[in-house]
């Protein structure tokens, strides 16, 4: 992939989301550069997960535009009019975007290895041997080289989440989305997952991370965005925002979580 420094990899402009009459996102703007780790924090119900899910179209976009790698997500624009993309085209866009869920969502009827091999073989048409080799490398990378044959039910939450990260990485995405990846974990298991994410960040992966882990934001984040009530309240360098929040709502939120 060619590195273009001028244009951000992810550009969210004026994003709105309605569930019926419920106005969840009220005009979000967010840009993430190539190789950047963008951390999004905020109270529950602030719309941060919804925003993340819009990026790979797990939620429809009510208003606004999202583009990844210069490509408009979910639509084609012809003569100023938006046309919905076909299911196949949407699937193709999602292949470039890895997603890690709060509840892991591993396929319970497949082993760790089979979970990781599934999409490369079935979607990208890789040979089983090649996919297997890559999957074993990824399992090693997330520290679970000895768990290839285990089913998700035989793994702890932290191990499951690391397999889920490996599964997303197997598609070689240009962007990784993390939707509260450590919120469902026992406290002593959080560290392993965060370590994997830190390694990933160091390797230059572009990441949008919705989380409550303020320490992770401070240590790894290139940008911190605080959302509340469906809008971006404050955004900037994580260390600055955390040390010196400008907006009273940011101050109040940080005082409760720090």
């Amino acid at each position: 992939m060619t590195v273009t420094t001028e244009k951000p990899l992810v550009q969210i402009e004026g994003l709105h989301k309605y569930y019926g009459d419920h106005h969840v996102l009220r005009g979000i703007d967010l840009a993430v550069n190539q190789g950047e780790v963008s951390v999004v924090i905020g109270p529950s119900g602030s719309g941060k997960s919804t925003m993340l899910r819009c990026v790979n179209l797990l939620e429809t976009i009510s208003a606004g535009r999202i583009s990844v790698g210069g490509e408009l997500i979910g639509y084609r624009e012809v003569k100023g009019r938006l046309h919905d993309l076909k299911a196949k085209e949407i699937a193709a866009q999602r292949r470039e975007i890895g997603m890690v869920f709060q509840r892991f969502n591993l396929f319970p009827h497949k082993t760790a290895l089979q979970n990781i091999m599934e999409a490369p073989v079935q979607v990208k048409g890789q040979s089983k041997a090649a996919a297997r080799k890559r999957a074993l490398e990824l399992l090693d990378r997330v520290g679970l080289g000895d768990r290839a044959g285990h089913y998700p039910s035989q793994l702890s939450g932290g191990q499951q989440q690391r397999v889920a990260i490996a599964r997303a990485l197997a598609m070689d995405p240009e962007l990784m989305l993390f939707d509260e990846p450590t919120s469902a974990l026992d406290p002593e298991l959080v560290g392993d997952v965060l370590n994997v994410m830190k390694d990933l960040a160091k390797s230059g992966m572009t990441m949008i991370v919705v989380t409550h882990e303020i320490g992770f934001a401070r240590e790894v984040g290139d940008r911190l965005t605080f959302m509340d009530g469906g809008v971006v309240v404050e955004s900037g360098d994580p260390r600055e925002v955390l040390a010196n929040p400008q907006h009273p709502r940011t101050k109040e939120f940080l005082s409760r979580v720090l």
Binding site: H109, E118, Q122
Partner: protein, 322 residues
Amino acid sequence: MDSRQGSHAAPVLNKAVPVRHPGRWISAVVILGALALFLQSLVTNPNFRWDVVGAYILDTKVVQGVAWTLVLTVASMVLAIILAILLAFMRQSENPVFRWSSWVWVWFFRGTPVYTQLIFWGLIAVLYPKISAGVPFGPELFSVDTSTVVTATVAAILGLGLNESAYLAEIFRAGLSSVDRGQMEAAEALGMGKTKIMWRIILPQAMRVIVPPTGNETIGMLKTTSLVLAVPFTLDLTFATNALANRTYLPVPLLIVAAIWYLVITSLLMVGQHFIEAYYGKGVDNRAPAINPAAAKAAAAGAPSADAEPALKMEFPGEDSK
């Protein structure tokens, strides 16, 4: 008892006098007594005519009847399962025409008696004497007599299979909707297409919910095949034994012959179901947890709650920080 307080000596195991259960002994005596009386009657009552049962159990007509009953059961269940998967997928489709057609199909075939449907398929040649393909209101491409295509066997399989598909469609629908929504999202996020998600991710997980009631339906179908004389189809087990009974004036022993064969087939089907359930339960039912030997020992030695709470503690030795 608190091991943290450091006594390394093995604990003295409690030896309590167990609670007595006189009710169990009394009920066992009553039931075994009744069973003995029944078995005695089987042997001593000459009206059972075990000699006739023995003479006809492997009769050519009976064995052929067993084979035809199996053919009808398997063929109509295969047809029903294929249709049911299709109907269940259509029911979940975003296409409203598919959803609606699926609903109407289930409504019709579940809402009329299978006996009526079997008679109807038997009469299809009266209703449509010829099956032809061509342009509507235009030229005909080819044409065949209905009675040569829809033979009694085909009519019986269609009648049983189509009726069953409506019931199975509901079972499959329940199975598909039992799979966690997150599975669909995870597969979508990986860029998988709808068809692959259904076949590779959702359906295999739904099978855990689908297989037990489908096994039930298969055993039900085995016995429903005895209704095919409505078509009329006259080679199945019930018809064969009834015909022999009418010829010999010995209904009881030939009913026993039929019952024995139905029980044998049902038992075989149950074995098959067990293996199918084990297959689709992998990753969920066969957790094969590493039993913590210390905990197991403690539980076995300890309180009566050892039965209620098996010591299936899972170990996660690999939860090491990197």
